[in-house]
């Protein structure tokens, strides 16, 4: 198979056929699945990891694991949902690992969404922002990104799956390997923590609004 035919095949071959072909020994058939689902998995991975570097690693690892476990898939669900679940699981492990790595460093560095290193000292300042600093949507996004980083991996997974990808509680429970009640509570906890983290910002906005109306 060459690159020239990639878009043609990707558009025509259903997932189930590509899975069957891969299992029958046609490794190139897996390319169809990778090309078709990469973008979606990337969005999940980015929201979970908060940076492009880790997101790309999660995407690659998810497809590698998917290939290794393809026999277990056996048409049990939609391939996209299945590989999404693998990616979410791996993302949880990756986030935990990243936290351990960060905690070992004296001055942990993290990338912002623009790929720039964020100074940890600036982050401390960010925790008590003035209303002016937080007025723009960029600041809001950054604040939210930071708040998401403070969640536990399970909470982050739950909120990303629930809010952005509209996953059901059962689906979240499967990924978290927990009961549906526990998964529901994880979503609630995540929202509560985010609300608390955004409280100063909300107050700031109110102040800005008040200043503007005065």
């Amino acid at each position: 198979m060459n690159q020239m035919t990639s878009s043609v095949e990707t558009g025509l071959v259903p997932d189930a056929v590509a899975v069957e072909r891969t299992l029958a020994g046609d490794r190139d058939a897996y390319r169809i699945l990778v090309e078709r689902h990469s973008q979606n998995i990337y969005r999940l991975a980015y929201r979970m990891a908060g940076n492009s570097h880790d997101a790309e690693e999660i995407v690659q690892e998810a497809f590698l694991r998917g290939y290794q476990k393809l026999k277990q898939f056996a048409g049990q669900a939609n391939f996209g949902t299945w590989v999404y679940r693998i990616a979410a699981n791996y993302a949880i492990d990756r986030i935990r690992q990243r936290k351990v790595e960060d905690s070992r460093r004296e001055l942990p560095n993290r990338e912002s969404e623009e790929g720039q290193e964020i100074d940890p000292l600036a982050q401390i300042k960010d925790s008590t922002p003035s209303p002016e600093r937080l007025a723009g949507s960029n600041q809001l996004a950054l604040r939210m990104q930071q708040a998401l980083q403070q969640l536990t991996p399970a909470e982050r997974t739950a909120i990303v799956m629930r809010h952005w990808d509209g996953c059901g509680i059962e689906e979240i429970a499967t990924v978290l390997k927990s009961s549906t009640t526990a998964a529901k509570n994880t979503v609630f906890r995540a929202v509560q923590k985010l609300r608390v983290a955004l409280e100063p910002f909300a107050e700031g906005r109110q102040a800005v609004r008040a200043m503007g109306t005065e």
Partner: protein
Amino acid sequence: MEHPKEEELIAFHDGDRAGREKLSAHLESCAECRASLEKIEAVFAAMDAIPVPEPGENYGQRVWAAISPRLPEKRPSWWESFFAPRRLVAVGAFATIAIAAFLLGRHWKPGPAPMVENIDTQKVRERILVVAVGDHLSKSEMFLIELSNAGPNSTQGKLVNISAQQHRAEDLLEENRLYRQTALQEGDKVMASTLDELERVLLDVANSPEQVTPARFESIRQRMESRGILFKVRVIQQGLRDRANPAKPQPAPKTQQQQNISKTNHQEGNRA
């Protein structure tokens, strides 16, 4: 109604139906709870403000380029390949023929002598096999003719779509492998060799991309024609037809004694 818990407000925001009407009515009248719900909504709105950078249109190809060298070849176990859907069709057809031959062999007892029965059963089996292989060859012949006649579009440089031929080649390939193996087991070297050559053409087509360049299409066709595979298939087919439907029973070869008698009769006739 008491003030709802935060969990209930989150569930309400999520569209949970349980107690929705009651909660709705309460929110109408309670400014405090409305403010709490607004805070929850602000959290989700803030989440939507997080930009996700677009990885680019060819991102999937980049992921594939990164992971493909790390993917081991998957070798299907023998039973998986045996039970693959396409193969099952061929195996099913073959099994039907074998069962039919077996049943015919069991119920068709023309004579008391076991030797004769054995010979008849063999004949029936052979006949059924001949019909099945004949059918396969005639399908293959059609395929080869179509491939030979199909050609690149008049527009230079455009890709040729051979997906239809590819699917047919894949179907024929499974049958072909079975019949080639059978021919080898039966010691029919000519048949086995022709089927082997046919298999290479089928593989050539089946393993090509769905869209090929005119040059590649031409090379497939040239390889097919250089092997004279269509001619060989026709010859084998004719041989099979002769075996299946002998047009006129050939006179049995005369024994030396018969020849002598014949000669004698002829000489006598001349004399007369």
